[in-house]
Symmetry: C2
Subunit: 474 residues, 2 copies
């Protein structure tokens, strides 16, 4: 930690890159646009994965695995899908020393290859709903990349489901968005707005796209999860049909939904500060770090004896003892602050004598308390809960401060420079395009929760039924 | 389950394919040589993954993730490595609509790309040992494929470690082989032989390869896990160096080790029978299936009430209730036998009246017992342990029956037709090649545990220091 992080206020983008690299979350790979997820970053991703995975299983989904390679002809079957993805494809042309008869695409997403299986697995209404999820790597060729936020290869989960009716599929798409919102708010401590995307921001091949959007530390939005109602678009081109109860053939109705390693980027940008990462306790690879302090071997033995007691008392907590001899306590404090560990326990000879420790919270600057050893088993889990809540509340307060409902287009233009603007929108693509042209802001989401009544479009003044949330976005 | 499995004795290879497809473990993909891992097969793989993952973490390893794509020039740096892998490479030549300046290889294994990172992460002896594992998909172009056993894309974990001395690296390679053997024997109920590979069977780029070998139900061997001592081969070509305590630059010593979805194939072939799969309880996605029996709605209600009590009593067990109305109990029995569920609970109105259930074990043919409801919480976990042990013992007995120490080459040739032949080997590649030419058998492993003294090579009669285990292999 010899180097300092670039302050957010000086250069937010440099601040982000500094954090990712100095907290040892990820590195750029020698292959353009790819990333190496380092152990600390991967441990965070594992906790994200586990937090989502149990929620998927609790809502009746099963994991499976489909091939990395997709025949080019499959991608081309659905017209919107191929148009959306073809500029981003990585193509395998040679295998086993031979040129392939048909090029293979490295999956950018798996709707097509999965429909090929669904069309074989689904025969009758008894096979529905079919609720599948896959944890996988995907590849989308990117020209401008940023670690976690936009990389050529990334890790994600993609849910794919088939249903007997449009209503059931729409309910599923909504349910999974709620699962994402629940995870984001309760595990990642990130407040999100849930709603529909406008047509221009829809997934290539979807009838409707839903998303959760979070505000980053510079007021920009980041799409943290999406859930799509696919209608029968893929079913029709892949012949995914079922016999209904009246013995008639029908096409299935489908959804797909995904969360990726972008979520790591969201956590960094929502919670991080100029000292480094701040991780929500539920996802932190290390929830509590113990920094012992001693000056003699005798003190060392005394302190470590107490550390053992603490370990036993905190058996259910993800605990790390930093007993590196070559580093000072102050250096360690900075190091673990950089890595965002929610709570630090400091313990030296004087603490041992008093049967206490010092507790330092990462979420509040310079706030320390002493706690009797005997109370740690109760106090530490309590504090972790408080920190979890406090990170969420700080993010929510920040979003409120940076959100507004501008009265006119001039106010609106200023509002999207600093955060989210809630504004009536007439629904026309022209108005949406004008905003982007003028301000670089886009419609992030048309929230499910709308004010009563209607209003006038912030751009053209025409009658509008819905408010949209506009902002700059990653 | 309308169709029957081809009996093992009729066609072992067809039997295997039938089981994989009828138990819904996997399907062939539309892309040549690739497979689709279906939910039941993937749930089994998840349990394998978890059983290995905690062992890796308990031995100090951390997970990370490295890119799918490797520059072709990287693969070419280590001479043996490129020679071994180049016939199997899948090559990306186009990305984002452009031809790439340098083709990218889809990783067949990650020694090269990982050494690129290690060479940056490792500065001094304080950074060693570096103990990394990755869960990933890899691609090796295959001409003849079999589900789980040999597929173009497969899932695996690959461990990669760097050490300050050759001894430490050799210990690590041995330690991880022991982790694999422990997993195989205790979780997968598969007895394995541990030892060295002969030079001809070594990993491309390794100084020494270790493996665990298991006997399948037809007497052939399957390599179920490998661990390699890489020496400084990769370190030298990637410049992976560290400053030792005397401030001198040295190359690191490395290992790599892997277990893949082949393990699923091993489980099928070691334990399966003509009724279908037989899964070891520790890995079975469903440990206990409840098949309720009723003829009226009143009986249905009574039975389901008791089922609820059983669920509560067996909260720690992976339990599934098969309450499908459209199927008979007999059909369900066959279905769950096909899927290898270790224990079945049958419960009908008469059982309800007697406060008991019928327990049917999958590991022993036609063995049923009745058990009082009140004892299930104790009896079921006991039985699952017994089944775990019994599957291991059956596999061990089978291996003993099919293993021998032939006296001459004629006996030897017959021995490798049915199983494992332990034989003295002089160490020459000529003798090894002659065996392969004559019998199609190869040296599977030179076991760590050797008889005392020496003997005469089974092929040429020359003095030999070690016994090797020869057999046909997958």
């Amino acid at each position: 930690m010899a180097d300092k992080v670039t302050p957010q206020s000086e250069d937010y983008s440099r601040w982000y890159t500094d954090i990712v690299q100095m907290a040892e979350l990820a590195d750029y790979a020698p292959v353009r646009g790819c990333m190496i997820i380092r152990p600390y970053g991967y441990a965070l991703w594992e906790n994200i994965r586990d937090g989502l995975d149990w929620r998927f299983k609790a809502t009746g989904h099963q994991n499976a695995y489909f091939p990395l390679f997709i025949p080019l002809s499959y991608i081309q079957k659905e017209a919107d899908h191929v148009q959306g993805f073809s500029p981003q494809l990585a193509v395998v042309t040679h295998g086993g020393g031979q040129e392939l008869e048909e090029p293979l695409v490295v999956r950018p997403t798996s709707e097509t290859i999965i429909n090929d299986s669904f069309s074989k697995w689904i025969q009758s209404y008894r096979d529905l709903p079919l609720l599948i999820n896959q944890w996988a790597n995907v590849v989308r060729w990117e020209m401008r990349t940023r670690l976690f936020l936009r990389t050529t290869e990334f890790l994600w989960q993609e849910g794919h489901t088939a249903h007997a009716t449009a209503e059931e599929a729409q309910e599923e798409a909504r349910r999974m968005l709620e699962v994402y919102a629940d995870f984001a708010e309760n595990d990642a401590a990130i407040p999100v707005l849930s709603g529909r995307k406008s047509a221009s921001e829809r997934f290539a091949g979807a009838v409707e796209s839903l998303s959760i959007e979070a505000m980053m530390g510079n007021g920009w939005a980041l799409q943290a999860g999406t859930s799509h109602f696919l209608g029968q678009n893929f079913a029709k081109v892949f012949g995914t049909q079922f016999l209904n109860e009246n013995n008639e053939l029908e096409y299935v109705w489908q959804t797909s939904w995904g969360v990726s390693t972008r979520m790591v980027g969201a956590i960094i940008m929502v919670h991080g500060d100029d000292q480094g990462l701040r991780l929500p306790p539920r996802l932190a690879p290390i929830q509590v770090v113990i920094v012992p302090i001693w000056k003699s071997d005798e003190q060392r033995a005394q302190v470590l004896q107490v550390v053992e007691r603490i370990r036993e008392d905190l058996a259910g907590v993800r605990l790390h003892l930093d007993d590196r001899d070559s580093l000072t306590p102050g250096w360690k404090f900075n190091d673990w602050e950089m890595r965002g560990v929610p709570l630090r326990i400091e313990i030296g000879p004087r603490d041992v004598a008093k049967e206490q420790v010092v507790l330092a919270r990462r979420d509040l600057d310079k706030v320390k308390e002493t706690a009797p050893l005997a109370e740690l088993a109760q106090r530490v889990p309590e504090l972790l809960d408080e920190i979890q809540q406090s990170l969420f509340q700080q993010a929510l307060d920040f979003r409120q401060e940076r959100s507004s409902e501008p009265k006119d287009y001039q106010e609106f233009s200023r509002a999207v420079e600093i955060g989210f603007a809630w504004a009536w929108w007439c629904g026309s693509e022209e108005c949406e395009a004008k905003v982007k042209e003028d301000t670089k802001a886009t419609i992030r989401v048309i929230p499910f929760e709308q004010p009563e009544g209607g209003g006038r479009c912030i751009v053209c003044g025409a009658e509008a039924q819905e408010q949209a949330v506009f902002s700059r976005a990653y």
